[in-house]
Amino acid sequence: MAKRGDVVIDIEKCKGCEVCITACPNNVLALAPEVNNKGYHYAVKVNSDCIGCANCAVVCPDAVITVYREK
């Protein structure tokens, strides 16, 4: 079984570009219906299928994603 992972998203820096959503192999991310202080819908985790591959963080233009994976 793949190792489990988790992501932390700095929602105030997120601009809702959705590049992370297309990069995620497990469809873990989606845009929140709410907006942040800048008025952008921000990325949120919508399920627990994260494997900590860091693809989302690697493509994020604004470096808002921190990734964790179990050892």
């Binding site: 601009k15 590049v19 627990s48 860091a54 690697v58 493509v59 994020c60 233009p61 964790y68 994976r69």
Partner: protein, 255 residues
């Protein structure tokens, strides 16, 4: 999820400290942010934050000095390679890079780019090519594709009157002064990782004093191409990559 994975020992990826915490002014989905981060990560991994001096251009990335946590110098429009030449000659032991867009490097700064590369200055030139003038409102750039609409070519670029898109990377690869010339992209995880490896190599080559290293990053411009970031990345794959193929153009002979 039963146990909490968010612990320092489980950390696999976080923003490098070579990037400042300032929110970037780039539009959502712009490749500039990713290109900045890759370069910053390379500087971080090589441990050369204190020995690196960057030169910022004019264009969208004019504020690059706010985002890189290294010594930075702003240059007049297109003159970054000339400014970097001066800095490198005064501080030959420092790592010097320029970060320029296509309007800066391939239009107003063509002379500086070509002559710096021809002299073989030991600098790294990072060239972000999105085929348009982003900051000023999407005007046609030398790199705008044939038939591509921009605010100053509303019927598409006509090669007869406006010339063909300028492949400046292939052009400078012909010069004996360049040591390593490559073209990369930062729209997908695999491309980002490849681009980072290329930037790392280019930075390391600077120690050898063998000549100019030139890394082009083909990027998107969702705002001025008038697309969503996802659409613009797809459009870039379908239209930009056939004309600007990714890959190494000039590689040093490895011993």
């Amino acid at each position: 999820m039963s146990e909490n994975l968010i612990k320092p020992e489980n950390l696999v990826y976080k923003k490098t400290d070579v990037l400042t915490d300032r929110i970037m002014h780039y539009c959502p989905g712009c490749g500039h942010g990713t290109a900045h981060r890759m370069l910053a990560e390379v500087i971080d991994e090589l441990g050369i934050q204190n020995e690196t001096i960057g030169v910022a251009p004019v264009g969208c990335s004019v504020l690059a000095y706010y985002y890189f946590n290294v010594d930075m110098q702003e240059a007049a429009h297109g003159r970054a390679p000339a400014v970097a030449t001066g800095i490198k000659r005064v501080f030959p032991e420092k790592y010097v890079f320029t970060y320029q867009g296509d309007g800066d490097l391939a239009a107003i700064g063509t002379a500086e780019t070509i002559h710096a590369c021809n002299r073989g200055e030991n600098i790294l030139i990072v060239f972000v090519n999105n085929g348009i003038y982003g900051m000023t409102g999407g005007q046609m750039a030398p790199t705008t594709l044939e038939g591509m609409k921009s605010s100053t070519s509303p019927f598409g670029r006509d090669v007869k009157t406006m010339g063909a898109p300028l492949k400046i990377t292939e052009l400078i690869a012909q010069l004996p002064g360049t040591y390593f010339v490559t073209r990369q992209a930062v729209h997908k995880p695999a491309n980002v990782r490849k681009a980072k490896r290329a930037l790392k190599k280019a930075m390391e080559y600077q120690k050898l004093n063998k000549g100019t290293c030139f890394v082009e990053i083909v990027s998107n411009c969702p705002s001025n191409w008038k697309m969503t970031p996802a659409q613009s990345n797809k459009w870039m794959e379908e239209n930009m990559f056939p004309y600007y193929p990714l890959g190494d153009i000039k590689v040093p002979e490895e011993k």
